[in-house]
Subunit: 254 residues, 8 copies
Amino acid sequence: MRELLEAVATGEVSPAEAETQLRGYATTDAGRFDAGRETRRGVPEGILAAGKSPSAVATLTQAALETTGHALVTRVSEADVTAVTDEVADGVTVAHDERGRTLVARCRGDERPTVDAEVTIVTGGTADAAVAAEAETVLSVMGVDTTRVDDVGVAHLGRVLDETEELRAADVLVVAAGREGALPTVVAGLVDTPVIGVPVSSGYGHGGDGDAALAGLLQSCTVLSVVNIDAGFVAGAQAGLVARAVSDARHGST
Amino acid sequence: MRELLEAVATGEVSPAEAETQLRGYATTDAGRFDAGRETRRGVPEGILAAGKSPSAVATLTQAALETTGHALVTRVSEADVTAVTDEVADGVTVAHDERGRTLVARCRGDERPTVDAEVTIVTGGTADAAVAAEAETVLSVMGVDTTRVDDVGVAHLGRVLDETEELRAADVLVVAAGREGALPTVVAGLVDTPVIGVPVSSGYGHGGDGDAALAGLLQSCTVLSVVNIDAGFVAGAQAGLVARAVSDARHGST
Amino acid sequence: MRELLEAVATGEVSPAEAETQLRGYATTDAGRFDAGRETRRGVPEGILAAGKSPSAVATLTQAALETTGHALVTRVSEADVTAVTDEVADGVTVAHDERGRTLVARCRGDERPTVDAEVTIVTGGTADAAVAAEAETVLSVMGVDTTRVDDVGVAHLGRVLDETEELRAADVLVVAAGREGALPTVVAGLVDTPVIGVPVSSGYGHGGDGDAALAGLLQSCTVLSVVNIDAGFVAGAQAGLVARAVSDARHGST
Amino acid sequence: MRELLEAVATGEVSPAEAETQLRGYATTDAGRFDAGRETRRGVPEGILAAGKSPSAVATLTQAALETTGHALVTRVSEADVTAVTDEVADGVTVAHDERGRTLVARCRGDERPTVDAEVTIVTGGTADAAVAAEAETVLSVMGVDTTRVDDVGVAHLGRVLDETEELRAADVLVVAAGREGALPTVVAGLVDTPVIGVPVSSGYGHGGDGDAALAGLLQSCTVLSVVNIDAGFVAGAQAGLVARAVSDARHGST
Amino acid sequence: MRELLEAVATGEVSPAEAETQLRGYATTDAGRFDAGRETRRGVPEGILAAGKSPSAVATLTQAALETTGHALVTRVSEADVTAVTDEVADGVTVAHDERGRTLVARCRGDERPTVDAEVTIVTGGTADAAVAAEAETVLSVMGVDTTRVDDVGVAHLGRVLDETEELRAADVLVVAAGREGALPTVVAGLVDTPVIGVPVSSGYGHGGDGDAALAGLLQSCTVLSVVNIDAGFVAGAQAGLVARAVSDARHGST
Amino acid sequence: MRELLEAVATGEVSPAEAETQLRGYATTDAGRFDAGRETRRGVPEGILAAGKSPSAVATLTQAALETTGHALVTRVSEADVTAVTDEVADGVTVAHDERGRTLVARCRGDERPTVDAEVTIVTGGTADAAVAAEAETVLSVMGVDTTRVDDVGVAHLGRVLDETEELRAADVLVVAAGREGALPTVVAGLVDTPVIGVPVSSGYGHGGDGDAALAGLLQSCTVLSVVNIDAGFVAGAQAGLVARAVSDARHGST
Amino acid sequence: MRELLEAVATGEVSPAEAETQLRGYATTDAGRFDAGRETRRGVPEGILAAGKSPSAVATLTQAALETTGHALVTRVSEADVTAVTDEVADGVTVAHDERGRTLVARCRGDERPTVDAEVTIVTGGTADAAVAAEAETVLSVMGVDTTRVDDVGVAHLGRVLDETEELRAADVLVVAAGREGALPTVVAGLVDTPVIGVPVSSGYGHGGDGDAALAGLLQSCTVLSVVNIDAGFVAGAQAGLVARAVSDARHGST
Amino acid sequence: MRELLEAVATGEVSPAEAETQLRGYATTDAGRFDAGRETRRGVPEGILAAGKSPSAVATLTQAALETTGHALVTRVSEADVTAVTDEVADGVTVAHDERGRTLVARCRGDERPTVDAEVTIVTGGTADAAVAAEAETVLSVMGVDTTRVDDVGVAHLGRVLDETEELRAADVLVVAAGREGALPTVVAGLVDTPVIGVPVSSGYGHGGDGDAALAGLLQSCTVLSVVNIDAGFVAGAQAGLVARAVSDARHGST
């Protein structure tokens, strides 16, 4: 702890980051930011913008930048992006993915980690794009390279069979699927690596809004694990944890 | 009507059958038997044994035999089979399918119709066998020949792809599937003929007892029509109506 | 394959259509268009506009036109119609059905097939009109002539009984019904041909939004197959597959 | 009150009945019996045997007999019937309806009231028989004559149309229906009198156990009121209240 | 029938009304209007404005006026009221109840029937007002006088006990209740006449939107019949049928 | 800690109790027994017998006796009672409540605490008796005296109003109610003390098994807190915590 | 009563307040205001603004002010606040809490009671703030001081463990939690005082809108009582009743 | 392929195994056994005994032994174990786990693979034991060593905090939890490795049978993936796939 306090004294470490390292979280006007999650849990603490005001989003983004050097915000509106962009200091880059509704801010010099393992993200159709993009962003922040295999819904098996080699090349797969949710089962039947299924809130009538897809993934005849409907962030982060474990094993660090 | 009454007078037609032809249904101690359904609707009136006493089942079977020359009973217990066998007249044959829990009784000389069209019944696994057998029996009573393609669940796509030619040869398909219910969607993606999906009450936990399968079939990205969970009788009869329409068209009768 | 490539060389076939014939689908900016579905499956690949931007709808419509000569778009908004109309080439006709919210575009010279079998579409009340119109459009694209029997809800049996002859004339029926969903059961009790029921999302309170109608159709005491709530496209396409099978049988082509 | 106490003194009224008249309920070892319900509410307090031990049923039956002169017990087992029969005093008649699982006990000299209005009970099939019998018993205890119209399910409209005159003759109708629950709507469309629908717990799969029927009755396009699934007692009692109001009006007593 | 046609010839009866009397319904651009319902069923055919365009509402209102002399429209918007008011002929009065969202139009000289029986409508709180008003309007059209007992929710029993005399004076009661839906049970425990409960879509969280109230009414320990959530029209009409039966009995007409 | 270890050395405290005091739980063959819960949480750790073998129940009972001097077991079968009785040491008393299916074992000399506050347990009918008895037992173990007010269901308001004084005398009330669950709302409207509602799994059809009661309690128009269906243990323990807080305040100990 | 009427005569008591004291409620144009609830029940009658017009809210606020000296309004919009502020008499203070959407109005000289017991309100994250604020306001009106422990969600146990002393200091706790609703269980495991859990309507997909949190609280392995989703008012009022009981016991008043 | 056929010729490989290697599955009287799953998918094809007859289980076990050298059967009854034991050849070992209801049969000389990665299985209480045992067995067959951390439910946080080091030592964790399902969230907050949550069908009333636990896991504020209720097999197999990926990376094989 002495080291840390000396670093504060010399200005190498900001007081906010020091408090966070000591207590595990930062207290801001907009709530406590669990900055310690990243070291404790290995997953960036995502800031869920939905249900918060743009100014609260900007405040929490600041807290994340000050304590961890970067920030990941999900389900952002245009107003959130503007509020964050207006408020961040010079030298902070802000990347906004419209489709996935994510925003990543990063202080100058902050580097994302490097993970030597590959995650492939698979979608059945255009309705799955936003969920896949959210997963892609969290994986990118975790330092994992991703490949995309899109529009391979099972109504035409040729599309997914054409990609068998690509699917088998991944260390872990995230497969998003709405409607009847059959794609993750079909994909998991083709590979010998872990598959994480994400039900997507497409569909209509009975079983719509992702309910049929969730139930179908939970009932899959093959081996899958599942996250909640539209939970691209969770699926991406879980895939990232697996990828990092593989990468660490490759490099002998665990 | 005169002709009918004269036939009664001469004993060619039993009074019970005559009343049925005139009113459209027969009245028995165990309830009214809708004997006219077969001519009016083209589907044999199935007697659902579940929830009835064996003696009520036997009485209704008698009513069916007297008015239509044959009887189809579904969801039979051993006791039902015994009760029916004990009570039917000489010369009546009784066929009991244990797996599908059906019973077909037929008077001597009663002939099943001949339908020139083929129905293929497809199952994903052993849990679908009872439902498939029920469909097979009703189709047999309607005079339709059936082919079976079994155990081709989508967890291993090779099994269903190996049967593509067989699947394409049918005029109409009945596809039963439990768990996540993906098979009917995959099959319907391989053929250009009508597919009728039957969700099966397998599975466990969330979406178990056929709920996930039903929702998945209703949400299918391809074109399917669906019947209720475990409704082998309804799926078979609907496939039989389509087959008969095709057969009649082949032979110019409609 | 040589023939096809020569046809590309001479310009008889566009490269896009050739790729589609070879791979079974076309890749566009807005997603893969399953152009092969129509030959493989016998059902036009409907483009579901709901949830897509007007420009994505226009791009996919273009892909459909280039690869199959026509396009069927469902659940269109006014903006979708404008975007498609603005972008299609000269000589493409665009037909928009407001009630059914469908759009059909067709290249000059593209002819719809001719199916010699009749589908009758039956509705219980005005709330069923949009669903019926969607079914009617897909059947029209498949080349099937349709008859409409409207506003014959069972609260007044006289209305449906008056149409018995009309109902019996069809080769296959699509019956739409909201609220308690009793109409398909009553209609199926009057005819000896296949009936496909469509629950409609009318109603309110417990069982509203089509839930009671769906459950009622699945529990029907007569023989019916069912599609999801408001699934006019699926019901129409399934009826079209049956009609085509009957037509082919009439003309000896299968 | 003096009159009552004098009647107790002279033995015309038992102390138990006097306490009941004063407090409105009787206290027994097996619980308080709401003996006052019949005068206060016009409906016999039914003793629900299900979930009680045979001896508790017998004790409550005794309490009912002592305070009101008769007892109505529903959902009885064979053991309940034996327990009651063994324990009642000489001169008490015990009538047990096996199908409806009801028991009515009556002291010598106790007379059921006379209601001059008719209730018709309608069923769709044999599965509705127990519910109809329960309604019939409660109406009988209330002094109302009932007519039965059975097995007129809508899969064959002829059956119910044949009974139109009978249906129109009633002052109020109780219509029981399982599966899709369409019968009460069809019946209510034929008459101009109040119809009370009872969903029955038949059916299977989605919407089974009376769920589809309940939802269908609540969504009916015509005018109906509804009771819970299998609530033959409630439907009968409500019909009885209407019948009594009509009877009283006929005889000028209200 | 001759009489009717002669009345058409002399102009006493319009052709539209004559067709309606003969066929039982009128055909308009906006759908078939079941004008015969009122004579056949004793209940005015309500026009449900929700989900229809103002011009369709006006057209159906016209059809109702021409065939029955009056029209009852429920769930009207301001635009519907304007459209109807603009289009009706001179001499037609239009009454709009804002709270109940109903509209009643009546031709000059058209008289509502007179029913000699009283219905009391009871509410628990202000959230029940719209439902009660809808019931009141349909009863008024049926010629039944209504009394209102408002804001007597069971959280304060004194309020409802103070009204006991009023409640007992009615021939039949409609009791509306949202949230936990306890009021109809409490009221039914105080009177000896039929009670019809209407669950109201108030409440929040688990069991909100009337679900708890509906379930509570169906489970009531006392005798009640129930209509769907917010079904003021149905409750009012059912109460009206009972009231008319009582009135007819009072005046010896049945 | 030294004191404790010395007490172990001298035999005043058993090693098992010492370990429990140090670690907060005891480890047995049948699982870890959270013996510390009582001191940490103020609530006896109930042993839920349902789903455990009689011998496992006996083992855990032993662990509880050794570490806390007494044991409370809920949902016991006859076999559980026998197993416990056979195994406990001399001097341990075993009290079994058949109705509540509870068992309380107590070492000689172990005294239950004394709480100076009163809890009244209220039930609507006989179906609530088991739940009330379970609550009563846990309160007794916590040292709280309870009063019972039984069979005061709201179908007859007189019963509950007669008990108003009794209800107002309590410091806190537990009110159990099945079917429509109206009783806790009515009781809470009569008193100015905390009311804890317990929904009971009585009822049938829609909303049966306690679902309607739970939803009704959560929607109550008055102020209540609620526990899960049939959770007599939880309701009793929560009431006991309130009672103890009141008692401590009375005696100045907090 | 004479005293009260004399006070009216001398003007000490307004006629409205007198009527309220005599009847227990006040009748206004906007409904009956249960002014007596506060004395009868010990809980301020909250006026739920949601679903009422601003002018109705203002009228009921007036009724509350005139009969009880203060008013508590929940779920207010900006328009409600304006309407109330415009209409209240001089000397009435109006306090509006934006986050909790509550409004408290108080006549000059009206004093809130003093309760000598402490309630701690605990939240898991920012989504719980509105619910906590609503609870805080009702407790403030009841005269109870509250402490807040915020943002201690269980994903990082350190946050809640750091607050253990604070949590143990309270007499009763209100714990709000959305998503998986684990916080109240964890908190209740740390204290020996009553905990009231409030599920919050955060979350998404399966179990969203508070459904998972509610189910989780009802299933808690520890002792909790629960209120409906987002029911901050009810949780606060129930905690207030417990606090007042403790305070009264401390000061010997009960 | 030649090599394989020569091996068949020389008897090194049985014809059954050869067919399986060529087609990917074996056909038996009791259904097709997907023997290729293990090589294709890396997960042993589990035979689900539930719903199959003992003799069918024995037949499928034989097929598995002949084609893969070992067999894993889940949800076995005593009768299944007897049937398998009676039928297997000499030299086959049969291991039966009563708690997890699994059976593993292995031919002499068949070796399980070795995976150099550790999976820790965590349970909240004794109700989770069967699920944990099922996961343990599948992991054992996959060659993965497992550690157990049992009875650490969150009602007493000390239990789980005491095990933090143990939890952090694993490469991947399977956490089973019933009731409110809070344990996987708490565990995942303590480690930086992948956590797979298994909801367990304990609990009662609302959210019982694992529903609350499933919803809670899907809503978790931390990063988790989930399997269906009681799906110990799936959770174990998914953890095994992750462990094998890590092991392969450690040893450079991928």
